[in-house]
Subunit: 183 residues, 2 copies
DNA sequence: CATCGGACATGACAGGTATCATGTTCGAAT
DNA sequence: ATTCGAACATGATACCTGTCATGTCCGATG
């Protein structure tokens, strides 16, 4: 599959990436509190930014698929504020943070693209907030479907979707079963 | 009160702002779908980015106080994706979008500050997502208190807080009353 | 092919919140 | 001072979801 290169700087990062890292499903790319030393682009698989609340319930803050940057907002932070882990077998391209910032500083057009990308991330994160503010599983699933644009999630990813919309897997199973019956 | 000017470009916007707009409580600064023609900085009062879900329940996506930019992520968008309205009597400084972009393009240091600001907004929006993923009013209020850093909200703003954390005003009243009793 | 672990599935029950209803308080405007 | 509207406050009830328990399905592994 050809990765989606939606932004100029993504391909720039990949082409200058010195190192590739391979992660098994469930492996951590970084932990909360780790110093931010590099930026990553997903080549294959997916990385989920996750925060574990008291009680162990995970909430997925961002899901980065092929061709997408991971934790780009942390570039200006000293440490990660959440965990990054592979939702499946994943390969990421790695570029040291300093090299990334130099790259942006030396190319105004690229920098402009970077700012526009961050602005889209802000809006995306706010849409997720709007989904999470809904109170029923049906409403949240509808919001997720509208947001992702695609159809119903594929088997094997339902638990991940449940974590993204902040409901228990069982509640999502029930809602999906209800929709299967009524369709 | 001296407005908080946390970012270079905020004071730059204010100083070049050609126009001031005054809004009564509840007045709209812009509506969802309006073309994005300018950027705003709150001088006094506060602006809330709000989306109204089916049924009329409002969810506050961003709350901008004195010295803060409003809907900055929309600078790269054609139209607003939510409503902006004054939560109280408010004054905003207005700068045409083109002038704002020219300002950034002409000052690399300012542009860098702008990108860092957007990155912080992304993280801020994700923190809100984490708060909204909690399931009880008590947990959401705790998250709001941790996030805002300050103490309990002032009277007259409780309904706004309820909208920010996605619970009914009544539920927030009850939780606050419970904390008053047990303290 | 047998095993095994994780996801899918579903029923029962307890707990929390939205909603509706009904007052009360308080600040602003006259 | 009186009026008035909005926020604050609180009780009752229905609904929904989290949790626990139990069971099935299915792909990976040896």
């Amino acid at each position: 599959m050809i990765p989606v290169m939606s932004d100029d700087f993504v391909s720039a990062v990949v082409s200058r990436s010195g190192r590739r890292r391979r992660l098994d499903r469930g492996a951590f790319l970084f932990h909360r509190g780790d110093p931010v030393a590099a930026v990553f682009v997903v080549g294959r698989g997916s990385i989920e930014l996750t925060r574990f609340q008291q009680g162990g319930r995970p909430i997925v803050l961002q899901r980065a698929g092929p061709g997408q940057l991971v934790a780009e907002a942390s570039v200006y932070s000293a440490a990660y504020h959440c965990d990054g882990l592979a939702a499946e077998a994943t390969v990421v391209h790695e570029l040291p943070r300093a090299a990334f910032l130099d790259l942006l500083a030396g190319d105004p057009a690229l920098f402009h693209s970077w700012a526009a990308h961050l602005a889209r991330e802000v809006q995306s994160a706010r849409v997720r907030s709007e989904v999470l503010s809904r109170h029923t599983v049906a409403d949240r699933l509808d919001g997720w479907l509208t947001w992702t644009g695609g159809g119903l999630p594929a088997r094997g990813q339902w638990r991940s979707v449940a974590a993204q919309i902040g409901v228990s897997p069982e509640a999502l199973y029930r809602e999906l079963a209800k929709r299967r019956r009524s369709s």
